[in-house]
């Protein structure tokens, strides 16, 4: 129930998580290269293709854009009113609308849509566990500079494991406090703060207690953060991963090149 992962067997689902995470980062950077509408068109085409291949329902992508609608509207209005570059194309009553404003707004909206599509695609087609594993493997070189790669991966998986449990706990605490007369929906500002404090403090106490128990359980099963350990889950790089990364790299450098030309 938790998370964004949509089970499936598409080619995108089967791609190696390392590849998917690296691609996301590369394309996120690419989105910020100024390669004009040709650049955005290329990335857009690529994203559309990937979306179709992944067979994620379109509704899902639209839904993930919902939180941004307000922001986009706000920005559009803001840009239209305040950006004064280019020539005036239209007059809305007393307000002049500049061509630069329209162009900038278009850029921003396209950029946002692309970012959302990319990030949604990754979380929808990759199991949280694989994502953690992929991150761990990708960050491996950072171990040389003393970054605790293994520990970070372990902590992410613990956090993900305990979110549903703590969520249940949260609901239980809220009900218990509601039974003691706390109203989580209505009340003055002060009452609302008091209500949330009566939830947050027990939640922290419980999280600390669970951490203590968990640490005991982990150590009793021979866990030692500094020791070597093998991993049950292994990632397998396949030929289509190579094809995919080649495509992504071509796109990335293509856009980069384009940004110099334009």
């Amino acid at each position: 129930v938790f998370g964004q992962y949509l089970p499936g067997h598409s080619i995108i689902h089967r791609l190696d998580p390392r590849l998917k995470i690296a691609s996301l980062l590369l394309l996120l950077i690419a989105v910020f290269f100024d390669a004009g509408f040709i650049g955005y068109g290329l990335i857009g085409l690529f994203v559309l293709l990937a979306l179709l291949l992944s067979r994620i329902p379109f509704k899902r992508v639209l839904k993930s854009m919902k939180p941004m609608i307000f922001m986009v509207l706000f920005l559009t209005i803001f840009n239209l009113f305040f950006v004064r570059i280019g020539h005036v194309v239209y007059r809305l009553g007393p307000v002049p609308i500049y061509s630069g404003a329209i162009r900038q707004t278009e850029y921003i909206v396209v950029r946002l849509v692309l970012i959302i599509c990319l990030t949604t695609m990754l979380t929808s087609t990759t199991k949280p566990l694989d994502m953690t594993l992929g991150l761990e493997r990708l960050m491996k070189p950072l171990r040389k500079v003393g970054f605790p790669v293994h520990e970070v991966a372990m902590m992410i998986s613990i956090a993900l494991r305990f979110i549903p449990t703590l969520m249940e706990e949260t609901q239980r605490i809220m009900k218990a406090q509601a039974s003691r007369g706390v109203d989580f929906n209505e009340g003055t500002f002060k009452e609302k703060i008091a209500a949330i404090v009566s939830l947050i403090i027990p939640l922290f106490i419980s999280a600390f207690q669970r951490a203590e128990d968990l640490a005991n359980a982990m150590e009793s099963r021979n866990y030692n953060p500094s020791a070597k350990r093998t991993r049950f889950h292994q990632l397998h790089w396949r030929y289509y991963d190579t094809i995919a990364i080649t495509l992504v790299l071509c796109l990335f450098f293509g856009i980069w090149g384009l940004s110099f030309i334009l």
């Binding site: 566990l129 998986s157 993900l160 494991r161 549903p164 128990d213 099963r221 093998t230 991993r231 049950f232």
Partner: protein, 275 residues
């Protein structure tokens, strides 16, 4: 008989001056089912943590011939498996499969061999069909069975149950008790159960009675559990069969005190038919 665990003059304090455990010594014979019996706060759970070096106390602990020191910490831990009280907080993996794998990973088992081991032990605790389930979809009893599978997969010499059934419903309790007893009887696994359940103590091989950080008495259930005054002073129950027999004896019936309920039905029936 060979000893699985030897503890000599063990003491421990959380805060200076307040001893949680004071100078306790005991041995646990190989293949036995031992219970440590005591009320909440008697210090009994601290013992489990001391035995695998989660806490550091004074005194000597020898597990399967290995004295516990900083250097042997991980050797000792690989010999001892503990099932803790809260089923939720010891489930580490995101699925049953991953949870059983956790211990194997720590022992650096070859990843290619893990799948087979995991399936084998999941079958042993009857959780094979649940291998891909997430912990939130399992009952407390099932989670504790997974914990036991995870421990068995590490092939320990002794399993410690630290009030492992106290948060379970009766069904879960029964599942775990049956599983643990069969491990003890059929596989000869040494079991140490930390509990306040007097009826569980009554069917064990050895009882270590704890009170306020001390060992009050050690012996067979028959020796320890008939000391009504001691048990009551430690805020513990008295076995049901003992309550009945001692009262009947007082009333002048020719009956001996016992803690064995099955035997009691037999005895009463004989008395009844002789009437």
């Amino acid at each position: 008989m060979e000893n699985m665990i030897e503890v000599k003059h063990l003491s421990f304090e959380y805060e200076a001056g307040a001893k949680t455990i004071e100078d306790i010594s005991f041995t646990i014979p190989k293949g036995s089912y031992t219970t440590i019996l005591g009320h909440n706060g008697s210090g009994k759970s601290t013992i489990a943590k001391l035995l695998i070096g989660l806490l550091e106390g004074e005194g000597e602990i020898i597990v399967d011939h290995i004295p516990l020191t900083i250097d042997t910490l991980y050797d000792v831990r690989s010999k001892v498996g503990i099932v803790f009280q809260n089923p939720d907080n010891q489930f580490i993996g995101s699925t049953v499969r991953d949870d059983i794998a956790f211990g194997l990973e720590n022992l650096c088992v070859d990843p290619n061999k893990m799948e087979g081991i995991i399936e084998e032990y999941a079958r042993k605790v009857n959780m094979y069909e649940f291998l891909d389930h997430e912990p939130t979809k399992l009952s407390g009893g099932q989670k504790q069975r997974v914990a036991i599978a995870g421990i068995l997969a590490m092939s320990p010499s002794i399993i410690i149950l630290d009030e492992a059934t106290s948060m379970l419903d009766p069904l879960g309790k029964r599942e775990i008790n049956e599983l643990v007893h069969s491990l003890n009887k059929e596989k000869g696994m040494t079991i140490l159960s930390i509990t306040h359940d007097i009826e569980e103590a009554a069917i064990s091989d050895q009882v270590i009675l704890m009170g306020d950080g001390h060992i009050i008495q050690t012996g067979t259930p028959d020796q320890v559990l008939k000391e009504v005054k001691t048990l009551e002073s430690l805020a513990l129950d008295v076995p049901f069969a003992y309550k009945i027999t001692s009262a009947l004896k007082k009333k002048g019936f020719p009956i001996e005190e016992t803690i064995d309920q099955k035997g009691l039905v037999e005895t009463l029936w004989q008395l009844h038919s002789k009437k």
